[in-house]
Amino acid sequence: MIQIKNISKIFKSGDSEIRAIDGISFSIPEGQFVAITGKSGSGKSTLLYQMGLLDIPTHGEIFIDGIEAVNLEEEDRTSLRLHALGYIFQDYAVLPTLTALENVMVPLLMQGVEFEAAEKLAIKALDKVGLKDRMHNLPSQLSGGQQQRVSIARAIGHDPKIIFADEPTANLDSETSASVLETFVELNKAGQTIIMVTHEPEYALLADRVIQLADGVIVSDKMRK
């Protein structure tokens, strides 16, 4: 499903270099729920951005469904993100001028799905995360947890192969966090591949596999189930 080969991300600051991730390699098969953990600055989010094609690694290769994604043209990378990947950001990243329903519909419309069909799929995704009754609300009319659910619905609405979640519970209270994580577990049970970055060890325990980073390298990679 996703194969990472020796990727590094080096940031330059004046004459000095910061190796945010350094020569990491691993593979994730379809349907796996992977938690990437580590302390702040360990490189876990940077790794997620490279795998999610939001950033380009300095070295290395990333294969998604057999396609080498690092050297793709920008338009093809965008297309791959649109069709194959879903994102859930730490601060929800919902679009403020769109309602919950419209937020979920946008990627579907971009895929060329007809308006009515996109609306149906979006409602279905919102129903899955328990937000069908708030679908006409703007993000400003929703709580943080509800906004994160919109973000999840948007990520799953177009049925992506992989969902990337960057500290999805960082801004939520413990009760809402548990509810969001429960949603992830249910999605994973249904066969969804999920890669989640978290610095909370107890949340990582919900995943099938936990990859721990420190100073940009993998220090442990354990299967839990």
């Binding site: 951005y49 939001l54 950033d55 469904d65 396609i67 338009e75 093809d76 965008t78 297309s79 791959l80 993100r81 649109l82 069709h83 194959a84 990947l85 994102y87 950001f89 990243a93 679009l95 403020p96 001028t97 769109l98 419209e102 519909m105 946008v106 990627p107 419309l109 971009m110 060329g112 703007l138 948007r154």
Partner: protein, 425 residues
């Protein structure tokens, strides 16, 4: 890898998604901001159409008045080396035979003078209360049917064909109406309706009662004295029936150029000069119109640049303050083209709203208003020249400039790194 779709399909999707985003952005934007931007576009449109329209209209008003009150659509006048239109009666017969001729009027003209207080004995060095002018002999009925002379009366009554001892005076001949005081110029004083004046042509003079006073922006009306043709010929001792001017008004079945060509083809060109009303205008008026047109276009162009800059700033501020929003869109796979299109839709919306309201103001209010209340200029009654086609072209220019002005800043922001935009760094 998702399968490749056709260029057209991708373009169609970009347009649809761009439209989806733009519609919601506009719907949920501040109403005041939308109103303000549309207001700026409205005034830009008015600047584009009205400023040049008024400048051109000042001269167009003069053209129209010359045609309506003096030359008609086509005018026949003597060649430069002759005093009269040769074989005038034959020419008139040809004019009558052209089917599209609605009315015509012939005029006899000659230089003369109008004198008031002519019975008073002048003291040494005292100037007579007199003014040199062109005396015109007309058929009052034909003249009125052709150039609506009676509509220009400001005092008194119009001439009847039997008014052998009456005269219509142009307002510029009278001090009451003409306050110009340049050296050597002295309009007649103390003359009104019923006054007696002495009209002299060559060595012959005759007393006339002032029956009416006509006022117009047209020189050939306001500077002339009009008497009936039979009295003119007696006074000017003109034996022949050759006239000096034949003004022709056409119905709508023929253009002035077509009528001119027919008259020339029928031989009129051998006896006199055949000109359309535009050709008969003083050349300085044409030059002034060209100059005003250039001036109008320059002012319009400045307005257009101001509008483009306004939209540029609005879209730039909008895009730069929503850098993260754009980053998220790109992050979730929305193409930069679709995002660009959304900004271009918004710019298009502002330009179309401004142009539509502008057109409504121009054709619903300003044009009808200026038609009824023209701007009072010394040489014309200025109107607003705004044709539907001309206005549509200007609206098109405004819309094009606005869309480009929306495209550039959006493109500048969209080119930024997606992740940096999402993370706000």
């Amino acid at each position: 890898m998702p399968k490749k779709t056709s260029w057209f399909h991708r373009f169609e999707t970009d347009l649809a998604v761009g439209g989806f985003l733009a519609k919601r952005d506009l719907k949920r934007a501040s109403k005041w901001t939308t109103f303000l931007i549309s207001f700026v576009m409205l005034f830009t449109f008015l600047n584009l159409v009205v400023v040049s329209g008024i400048l051109v209209g000042l001269i167009q008003g003069s053209f129209d008045q010359n045609r309506k009150f003096d030359t008609g659509d086509v005018i026949i006048s003597p060649f430069q080396n002759t005093d009269v239109v040769n074989q005038s009666q034959q020419v008139i017969q040809i004019v009558q035979s052209v089917p599209s001729v609605q009315n015509y009027s012939y005029r006899y003209t000659k230089g003369g003078s109008v004198t008031a207080d002519y019975r008073d004995v002048l003291l040494k060095d005292q100037k007579a209360n007199s003014m040199g002018t062109t005396i015109a002999g007309i058929d009052p009925e034909k003249e009125d049917a052709t150039t609506h002379l009676s509509s220009l009366l400001v005092e008194g009554d119009y001439l009847k064909p039997t008014d052998s001892d009456s005269v219509l005076l142009g307002s510029d001949l009278l001090a009451t109406y003409n306050t110009n005081q340049f050296p050597g110029f002295s309009p007649i004083t103390g003359v009104g309706i019923g006054s007696k004046v002495l009209i002299t042509i060559g060595g012959s003079s005759k007393e006339f009662f002032v029956k009416g006073i006509v006022k117009s922006k047209i020189n050939n009306v306001r500077n002339r004295a009009f008497i009936i043709e039979s009295e003119f010929r007696k006074l000017a001792a003109r034996d022949s029936l050759n006239v000096n001017e034949i003004a022709i008004v056409l119905n709508n079945t023929m253009t002035p150029d077509q009528a001119k060509q027919i008259l020339i083809a029928d031989g009129v060109g051998e006896y006199g000069r055949v000109q359309t009303s535009i050709e008969a205008l003083p050349s300085f008026l044409i030059q002034v119109q060209d100059t005003f047109s250039i001036l109008g276009n320059v002012i319009s162009a400045i307005g257009l640049v101001v509008a483009a800059i306004t939209i540029f700033i609005v879209i730039f501020v909008n895009a730069i303050t929503r850098r993260r929003y754009i980053g998220i869109l790109k992050g979730i796979g929305i193409t930069p083209r679709a995002i660009l299109v959304s900004y271009m839709w918004q710019a298009l919306f502002y330009a179309i709203v401004g142009s539509l309201f502008g057109a409504l103001v121009v054709f619903g209010f300003l044009k009808p208003y200026f038609d009824v209340h023209p701007i009072n200029f010394p040489f014309s009654d200025g109107i607003l020249v705004a044709t539907v086609s001309g206005t549509a072209i200007r609206a098109g220019v405004l819309i094009f400039a606005t869309v480009i002005a929306g495209y550039i800043p959006a493109r500048m922001v969209i080119k930024q790194n997606t992740l940096d935009a999402i993370l706000g760094r």
